[in-house]
Symmetry: C2
Subunit: 334 residues, 2 copies
């Protein structure tokens, strides 16, 4: 949960209004129409053609065509703050009437007064309290309902859009292209699975059973004579950094042949993917587009990309330069 | 791991040679040719037709057609001892030359001398030591190799067959029938995932990412400069009894519409399935066939079926009487 601590710093930062970019009509038959014809697109298509060509030494059988994608900053926007943190902040405000004690208790007091410095000063313990207060002590179905309601209503401050509209169009095209070529696509995110599953299928075509993420401890209880799954106030697994290969191994049980991330939190997932036998493809998004999205990397408090960028350059992993390699970023950009 | 303790009692019990049963040719177009035309088969086909009929009020969209199956005693043989316990016993014998101390230490001494009473006397702690000694302290890939090697060589004592031949033919037909009707089939077993994944795809057509089970704690380490997943000597999740709904929620994230088990360890999975909205089907196998397989239920130390059988009868869940409802049990029975 360290990530959450640092990114709270950047909540509510003033952001520039985005410049709209032109989006030419897709070339007929082009599986990746929102990608420019630069190296990343060529690498991706060449890789997919290699591993799907029957009889070729590089051929990979369909069941082994596992592709894993980070979520925040890889499939949707993570700046200026991870969406799950925005959700937690809104939930604190919503739940505040039932918690009069929050008016005087940090980190809740800070959230309610918009004093993010005070929130951050509470450290990891405070962030932990925030997550516990907003996403546990309820059933999975109750939490799912609260996420679904929020995602349908809340708006991002820069683009004035619902968060599930802030998915990257080139990435949803890539997910579809891979699935059309026999790949099974998975999310492998530091975010909590209960926060992603309610909207991931609609946004990405990725069903809940292919969403791997951090998890809260849960248990079976009986309520009104019916069994329910309760979310307990304890994080049981952190699916970030070295946790990502562990999460993939536990939930998927196979090593991916393609892994796509955007930050140092994805480095071990890409290293583990690369260490497999046979054809492998490792990719990173480099956020270089301050106009259409955001530009950040080595010193960012959210989605820091530093060591993984060096490793990508040293090892020849594919780095997608958002500004140069994508024709447009969002579906709503004309 | 309580199960393991009790079932060790029954290792190496003398068993009767099975009587072969006739297996008439499948009726053309019959999706379940190894099932007799009794109530369970009729219930299953009626259920599948209801939930797949577009426009019907009972229609269930494909992504929600989740079917979960227990493994031991539901998809393959679990008597006279869970196969994973047979594996652990064989591994102890195999590893014994590297562990001279085992000659004098229980539960290893008992395994090596065939003195199962002594093994059982070590209690849960002993069983824990057995599992740790035979399946941790190695990488996932090393363990997978040891399971694959064992499953290709070891033979059951009653049928003189490899364990992966002891899958129930009516159940593999049912898995195929469900998949042909848009269902996604999952294993949800008390067994450890690392023990099931190496052979489940070949035996059942269920890929590793659809195998939910008990898990050992793992971590990412570097060995010879390469990342590996190490299996640590700690059980991190027990996917049995109340753990099954928790495992389904964590790994799959949706409630099944069909759940199939055979013991009290499956009771909560069936209850949780039944508690969902809309069409649901809950099934239990009742092992009633001492000739073709085994007969056991309320007082068995392995696969005990007592409370769940009462609940099935009270609530109208489908109970499959192996002797009466299956034309034959195994593919190798002519």
């Amino acid at each position: 949960m360290k990530k959450l601590l640092y990114v709270l710093l950047s909540i509510y930062l003033p952001v520039a209004v985005s410049t709209l970019s032109p989006c030419p009509a897709a070339a007929q038959g082009d599986p990746l129409p929102s990608w420019n014809d630069t190296a990343p697109k060529k690498n991706i298509i060449a890789f997919v053609e290699r591993v799907t060509k029957e009889g070729s030494p590089d051929f990979v059988p369909i069941p082994e065509r596992i592709a894993t994608f980070d979520n925040d900053g890889t499939l949707w926007v993570e700046s200026p703050v991870y969406t799950q943190v925005a959700f937690a902040s809104d939930r604190v405000k919503e739940l505040a009437p039932q918690h009069p004690e929050w008016k005087t208790q940090q980190p809740f007091k800070g959230i309610l007064e918009g004093d993010m410095k005070a929130v951050v000063a509470t450290g990891e313990k405070g962030i932990y309290q925030l997550v516990v207060a907003t996403s546990t002590g309820m059933t999975e179905e109750e939490f799912e309902q609260s996420v679904s309601t929020w995602i349908a209503q809340a708006q991002d401050r820069k683009f004035k859009r619902h968060y599930n509209e802030l998915v990257y169009q080139p990435m949803t095209e890539l997910l579809t292209y891979l699935r059309n070529n026999g790949f099974k696509t998975f999310i492998v995110s530091g975010g909590e699975v209960g926060f992603m599953r309610p909207w991931a299928e609609k946004a990405y075509g990725i069903p809940s059973e292919q969403v791997v993420g951090s998890t809260m401890k849960t248990e079976l209880e009986t309520r009104d004579g019916k069994p329910v799954i309760m979310r307990l106030p304890q994080i049981s697994f952190v699916d970030d950094g070295p946790g990502k290969p562990v999460g993939i191994d536990t939930f998927i049980g196979r090593r991916p042949i393609l892994a796509f991330g955007n930050s140092d939190g994805d480095q071990q997932m890409l290293e583990w993917t690369a260490a497999g036998v046979g054809q492998r493809m490792m990719l990173l998004i480099h956020h270089t587009d301050a106009d259409r999205e955001y530009a950040y990397d080595r010193t960012s408090s959210v989605g820091k990309l530093d060591k993984a960028l060096d490793e990508a350059n040293a090892k020849g992993w594919t780095v997608v330069n958002m500004k140069d390699d994508w024709k447009h970023v969002f579906a709503f950009q004309p």
